[in-house]
């Protein structure tokens, strides 16, 4: 401050003004930041959780909050561009009408679609069944694709191209999610890259500078003690393991590698078993559910939910088996965690993929002329997009119910049992720890379902928002009342980036089914905005053909090879440039590190001299 004040005397008037204005701007920005932090959702709750349980668990809850916001924004997007115009024109507000262009050359049989929207007197439980399975009265609401059977919406004199809007809104949702996730993960990526290099003084750093003297709360102090102890123990164990690995003889290495190959084969066998069972169950459930005449409520519900039940079972048993097997593979602890996580991620996401694949094999089952006129199995699936949307809806509801059921019927009784019953076996079980990776995979699984289902069921993001909102409070209450504080605090910095990376994998996986169904499976002719097109994607080329000639030529030019190949080459060049730049920076960093070591050696030499001189 002193040096600045002396500088000010010598500065000219212009520079003085600049400095004063930048100071006041900084002040305004920091005050705005302070105010905006009040608006953030659940700021206080997450702060409390951080204080009591540490940063890793807090990162789970802020991840949950991010998903709530993301789903809410996606919902607003889909609602305002797709649902709102349809609803407005349905009720005739603003002089709006729907234009349904009758199809030109489509077989009559393909357009028969009669959803049984519950006419007449029905039992109450049918409502419940419909709510849980998305059939009946829900099928004809704006929840599913089948409601949007309009080719254009006229609002006063404007023509609103609903099919194009539907397609573009779905793409925009996915693109928005991608951009937002990437933006969030860039910060974490930079951090993990910087801290990744192992400093050559890690023990001294942890011991001499490990205690944060700013801690005033005894609970936080306890947490810090535990985390320091765990970090030191982990580092020591890793060093011991590395030593052991280096000491392995050839015979031992052969044994370990063959054991690892064997265990990987077991893992693959388990995965294939899960996939096959999901495929069979989905086919069975689809066949049985088309048989509407069965009125036994429970059996019908059970058959409808069979795929979800099997997937949830697989998602539950699989990780347990994986964490049991990985102990025999004798990897370093950090690598163990990552490998188990990768296997569980693959299991969960591939389960959804298998479900969708089996659905499609049913829909495009063209074995015995079943789909002759329309290109898809029109008898069983007159409106197949609604069916896919229904499966996603069922998965989501079931996932939500399972989380609630687990918390109510497993966590709370366990806590009651542990606090009131003092027999040994119960105490040995103890309270459950909050397993972060399992919980994170759960919500990523739910989010992937939501992304896949957004195209087929535009209001699904709204359900996802409400679901995650409720899950936040459920998990928070369960955490505070039934979980013990973890004995093993986890490194928080890498977790944030890891969660977002896995979420990104889920998003990429969600792109694939949506892309395939838009581009290659013929859209259903009986319902939906794409009745007059062969596939859903065709609406885009059709719209482009209506543009003025100049614009058309430009767009065709961009899509042609003459443009794509040079563009691709330029992008590759830019990428190589950045890779080279990153390599050069890394080299500089290495050189600086070496210089530090040399400096240290010089200093050591001098200190030795001083010590010698002191001795004499």
């Amino acid at each position: 401050r002193d040096s600045r004040q002396t500088d000010i005397k010598y500065l000219s008037g212009w520079k003085k003004w600049k400095r004063a204005s930048s100071k006041s701007l900084k002040k305004i920005l920091s005050e705005a930041k302070g105010l905006s932090s009040y608006v953030v959702l659940w700021r206080h709750d997450i702060h409390i959780i951080e204080g009591r349980f540490g940063t890793a668990i807090q990162s789970y809850f802020s991840f949950l909050r991010f998903l709530v916001l993301l789903n809410f924004i996606i919902f607003i997007l889909m609602f305002s561009f797709v649902t709102l115009p349809t609803i407005i024109s349905d009720y005739g507000i603003f002089n709006s009408t729907i234009a349904k262009i009758s199809s030109k050359n489509i077989e009559y049989n393909c357009t028969i679609y009669e959803p049984n929207g519950n006419k007449g007197l029905i039992y109450f439980y049918t409502y419940l069944q419909d709510l849980l399975t998305g059939t009946g009265f829900l099928e004809v609401t704006s929840l599913f694709y089948g409601y949007y059977t309009a080719d254009a919406v006229w609002i006063s004199i404007m023509r609103y191209n609903l099919p194009l809007a539907y397609l573009l809104a779905a793409f925009a949702c996915l693109a928005l999610s991608l951009l937002w996730i990437i933006k969030r993960s860039v910060g974490g990526f930079k951090q993990s890259l910087v801290h990744d290099a192992d400093p050559f003084q890690s023990y001294c750093n942890k011991v001499f500078a490990g205690w944060d003297f700013c801690i005033t709360d005894p609970d936080a102090a306890q947490l810090k003690h535990r985390s320091l102890k765990y970090e030191l123990q982990m580092d020591l164990e890793e060093e011991r393991l590395k030593q052991k690995i280096a000491d392995r003889t050839i015979k031992e290495r052969l044994r370990i590698y063959s054991l690892r190959i064997f265990i990987n084969i077991i893992v693959i066998a388990i995965l294939s078993g899960c996939f096959y069972s999901i495929y069979r169950v989905t086919v069975f459930s689809q066949e049985k559910s088309s048989d509407i005449s069965s009125t036994n409520f429970q059996a019908n519900l059970f058959v409808q939910y069979l795929p979800s039940i099997v997937i949830t079972l697989a998602n539950f048993i699989g990780p347990q088996i994986f964490s049991f097997l990985i102990r025999y593979e004798e990897y370093l602890p950090a690598f163990e965690i990552i490998l188990t996580l990768m296997r569980c991620v693959f299991l969960r996401l591939a389960n959804i993929g298998v479900l969708l694949f089996s659905l499609w094999s049913q829909i495009s089952d063209c074995a015995t002329d079943k789909c002759e006129p329309c290109g898809y199995n029109y008898k069983l699936y007159p409106c197949w997009e609604s069916d896919v949307g229904r499966e996603m809806y069922k998965l989501m509801i079931f996932d939500f119910l399972i989380i609630l059921a687990f918390t109510l019927f497993v966590d709370f009784p366990r806590k009651l049992l542990v606090t009131h019953c003092s027999c040994k076996i119960v105490q040995w079980f103890g309270l459950q720890e909050f397993n972060i990776s399992d919980n994170v995979l759960e919500i990523i699984y739910g989010q992937t379902i939501c992304w896949i289902g957004t195209f087929f069921s535009p209001l699904l993001p709204a359900i996802a928002t409400v679901k995650y909102f409720i899950i936040f409070y459920v998990k928070k209450i369960s955490l505070i009342h039934t979980r013990k504080t973890a004995d093993k605090p986890i490194r928080a910095s890498s977790s944030k980036f890891l969660f977002l990376a896995v979420l990104l994998i889920g998003l990429v996986l969600a792109f694939i089914p949506v892309g395939v169904s838009i581009a290659s499976i013929p859209s259903s002719k009986a319902c939906g905005p794409f009745r007059n097109f062969n596939t859903s994607w065709e609406v885009v080329p059709d719209t482009i053909l209506e543009f003025p000639r100049g614009l058309q030529q430009v767009l065709f030019g961009i899509a042609s090879e003459a443009f794509a190949v040079p563009f691709f080459i330029v992008v590759c060049l830019i990428m190589f440039y950045f890779i080279a730049l990153a390599g050069a920076h890394k080299q500089v960093v290495d050189q600086l590190k070496e210089q530090l070591v040399l400096d240290g050696r010089d200093k050591r030499f001098l200190v030795q001299k001083i010590a010698e001189a002191q001795r004499h």
């Binding site: 500078a209 240290g600 030795q608 010590a611």
Partner: protein, 173 residues
């Protein structure tokens, strides 16, 4: 000029110090000494595992009872403030970590230091094998003249290259 604290911080320190004294003695707080037990009720020191060492190092009491006068208190806050140089901080850190006050950090000091870090109580200590391994690693990294102890220059050298030291060795009222 004598401390690294600003005027505002000194006034705040004076206010907090006089709150530690019983009411009748608050008038001449500048000359009174506050017993160690009162100092340890400060929230900033309450949860600190090095609280006793801090009081001992900064206390200039001839009676050896670790009581602190206002000047001692200011001294302590100045060393722990944001604007103190890294040299001063590492000097005092060395004195705080030197549990037996012999001018070097030997194995016993390091053992006590690690026990302070991992928490009070039997179950929160490292096993003796882990402790051995840890102390071996620390000495390998910092003991330059290989005499089995860390003297002041070695300590300052090691701490100067530690990225977290400046931000963790800080107390702000």
């Amino acid at each position: 000029e004598l401390t690294f604290l600003s005027k505002r911080e000194i006034l705040l320190a004076y206010k907090r110090f006089s709150e530690l004294l019983p009411k009748e003695e608050r008038e001449n707080a500048r000359t009174r000494r506050v017993p160690k037990s009162h100092i340890l009720t400060l929230p900033e020191l309450r949860a600190n595992p090095f609280q006793h060492r801090i009081c001992h190092v900064f206390s200039t009491s001839e009676a050896g009872d670790d009581s602190m006068s206002f000047e001692d208190f200011l001294d302590m806050l100045s060393v722990f403030s944001d604007s103190a140089t890294s040299d001063i901080k590492s000097h005092y850190a060395f004195r705080i970590f030197d549990f037996d006050n012999d001018g070097t950090l030997d194995r016993k000091d390091l053992e006590q230091l690690v026990n302070c870090l991992t928490g009070q109580g039997e179950e929160s200590r490292l096993s003796s094998m882990e402790m051995e391994q840890l102390i071996q690693n620390i000495l390998e990294e910092s003991d330059i003249d290989k005499d089995g102890t860390i003297n002041l220059s070695e300590f300052q050298h090691v701490v100067s290259r530690s990225p977290d030291f400046a931000s963790s060795f800080k107390i702000v009222l």
